[in-house]
């Protein structure tokens, strides 16, 4: 195996992504156990390794690993001691699913949440209004409170 290290002791697959490791030499720790592997990759091929180096200090952790024989259990990026964090993200949190936003960055209502009550006419046609007060009274209420608290700005 090469672009992945399938650690036989803990049955974990470590994914060595194709850019970072395309030409790389060093020691990488398995995400599933304490094994450290020496690898020397040239043009994506394992030129040397993976050789077990017990007890040696690793240079790097994989960014992602999983256990296919254990229900594809995921070891997500940034799991302490197992995978390295993936830092270059748009926010300090990462969702990977729909962010149910009710208010824009400046605090005004925007239809970023679901489900929305049906509001269209014949053949899905709709006009040029969103009657928030009628369709989503709770959001309208929340908005009034935000205005009172001064959380709604021009920018």
């Amino acid at each position: 195996m090469c672009d992945i290290i399938w650690c036989k002791e803990c049955d974990t697959v470590n994914y060595l992504d194709p850019y970072y490791f395309w030409n790389w030499e060093g020691k990488i720790k398995c995400a599933g156990c304490e094994n450290v592997y020496y690898i020397y990759m040239i043009q994506g091929h394992m030129y040397k390794g993976p050789d077990k180096k017990p007890g040696e200090k690793p240079d790097i952790l994989p960014v992602y690993a999983d256990k296919p024989n254990d229900g594809y259990e995921q070891i997500l990026p940034g799991t302490p001691g197992k995978t390295r964090p993936y830092n270059c993200l748009p926010r300090h949190i990462y969702l990977g699913r729909a962010d149910m936003v009710k208010f824009s960055a400046r605090g005004r209502p925007v239809r970023g949440w679901r489900p929305q009550p049906p509001s269209t006419g014949v053949a899905g046609s709709c006009g040029f209004t969103w009657d928030i007060q009628k369709l989503s009274p709770e959001v309208w209420q929340e908005y009034q409170e935000k205005i009172k608290k001064g959380e709604v700005g021009e920018w």
Partner: protein
């Protein structure tokens, strides 16, 4: 039969340059596919008749016998260093407008630029003046005249030229022309039909408007790219490539923001022309900037910040919105593969699994990768592309393309320019083309993108232009300057 032996002494790379010229190494190296071969391609999808109709009506070979859409539109273009005004005027010129490019008597400094300072890559005109290839490639179908706008006489002649223009495209620092008395507010008094376009990096007004350094150096692209978040968003993240070794924000390899500003200037100018001729008879003032025109096309990036304060991050060769939709390294370069819907995504997988069985075990059987939207998660991208590259590293681009095409996947090799020039489809159209220029000899160039039309296709007539070559004709035709007067003006340093 003995081959003719040529006496060649090669001591440096410079000695090889003459051996690479178009007379020794003509393009294309191998002939393009024949019309019969291409007809067979149409037939495979039962589109013979339609394919033939397209070839009969759209082929570039027939372009020269067709009328020009913008015949009768006169464009005055003037600016230094940058691509914006040249690209804008070039797009109009290719469609038939008459373009007059005004330069100072010492010429546009872009004429002097050449990659890594190598003068041997510059071309000589008949006068023996050398010119850089960027300038030659981007100044299209334009006449060249010279005028020293710092002199009163020069400004007077410029004003007289502007009286004859429909569109004027100017790219000087903010307020420079106005201060000389030849900006929009003065020229529009003399020619109210004039459509006046200014192009810059950030703007001619506003808190971050274009600056020149205290020694007079201009702002050039990538100042436009940097100001709209394009550079911040482009490149590999540190997580995929170490910082300082490519894991950094990255600028476009070309002056891309200038090109985008140039094309939007052409759009705005033509829309203003339509409005002038259809409704009002009036010209107007247009301002396009590299930073803003590029920002216009940065997908949803700023909108995203307004949605939940996300700041777009770099993702290298991958795309956070789509999987698969990336290029990754292979045996001899990089291979682009795209296919996001289940139908296409599994087809890519089947193609790979045929040769890499473990791909099925780790990718297809993973329950977390079965839903389309969930495949865009970061870990899913990492896993999918690691496994795809395990397949790619064993094969060349051409093999990968062949295999993926069997599954009707949108896939293509990442090509370098020598490969681009020999790619069968590029040769057939042709998208890189050659013309025999009166001044510079045989030139290879990127063909006009608007050259494939039924009635009024664009065309490239000439590229570059020796400095001031058209002074005598243009000044006689539009201003009435005779030989004697022109000679005097030359002595005074006006032209």
């Amino acid at each position: 039969m003995a081959k003719k032996v040529r006496e060649v002494e090669i001591n440096s790379r410079e000695d090889t340059l003459t051996l690479m010229g178009p007379d020794v190494r003509p393009w294309p190296v191998t002939p393009p596919p024949s019309p019969e071969e291409v007809a067979a391609v149409y037939a495979r999808r039962k589109a013979e008749e339609f394919g033939k109709w397209c070839e009969d009506n759209l082929r570039i070979e027939y372009a020269k016998g067709k009328p020009e859409a913008l015949q009768g539109v006169r464009v005055l273009s003037c600016g230094l260093w940058r691509m914006g005004h040249k690209f804008a005027a070039g797009l109009l010129g290719e469609l038939g407008a008459e373009v007059i490019n005004v330069e100072p008597p010492e010429g546009d400094p872009l004429r002097k630029l050449t990659p890594f300072g190598r003068e041997e890559y510059m071309l000589e005109d008949k006068n023996g003046d050398k010119c850089g290839l960027d300038f030659i490639h981007e100044l299209r179908n334009a006449y060249s005249v010279t005028l020293n706008l710092e002199t009163e006489k020069g400004r007077e002649l410029y004003t007289k030229l502007a009286q004859h223009a429909d569109i004027l495209i100017e790219e000087y620092p903010p307020g420079y022309m106005d201060q000389l008395g030849i900006g929009y507010r003065q020229l529009s008094q003399i020619n109210p039909r004039l459509i006046y376009c200014w192009i810059g990096e950030h703007g001619q007004w506003g808190p971050m408007k274009d600056k020149v350094s205290k020694y007079g150096q201009w702002m050039l692209d990538p100042f436009g790219q940097a100001a709209c978040s394009f550079i911040h968003n482009t490149g590999f993240p540190e997580d995929l490539l170490p910082r300082g070794k490519g894991g950094d924000p990255t600028r476009s390899g070309v002056w891309f923001a200038d090109y985008v500003a140039g094309e939007q200037t052409a759009v705005n100018a033509l829309a203003a022309l339509f409005w002038r001729d259809e409704f009002s008879g009036e010209g107007q003032f247009i301002e396009t900037t590299a930073a803003e025109a590029l920002m216009d096309i940065l997908d949803f990036d700023i909108t995203w910040y307004g949605f939940n304060k996300s700041i777009k991050a770099r993702t290298g060769g991958w795309d956070p919105n789509l999987n698969q939709y990336a290029w990754n390294p292979c045996k001899d370069g990089y291979m682009m593969i795209g296919g996001q819907t289940d139908r296409l995504w599994y087809r890519i997988g089947m193609c790979i699994e045929r040769e890499l069985p473990i791909f099925g075990r780790l990718i297809h059987e993973d329950p977390l990768l079965k839903e389309m939207a969930a495949r865009n998660a970061l870990q899913a991208l990492t896993k999918t592309y690691t496994m795809t590259t395990m397949w790619l590293r064993n094969i060349n681009r051409v093999e990968a393309e062949e295999k993926l095409m069997q599954y009707e996947i949108a896939a293509g090799p990442l090509l370098y320019i020598d490969e681009v020039a020999e790619f069968p489809h590029f040769k057939y159209r042709p998208w890189v083309n050659v013309l025999e220029d009166e001044e510079y000899g045989t030139l290879m160039y990127a063909e006009s993108t608007n050259a494939y039309q039924m009635r009024t296709p664009a065309r490239v007539k000439w590229l570059g232009r020796p400095l001031g070559k058209d002074n005598a004709e243009i000044f006689m035709k539009y201003i009435g300057l005779g030989q004697t007067e022109l000679r005097e003006l030359k002595e005074q340093g006006v032209v």
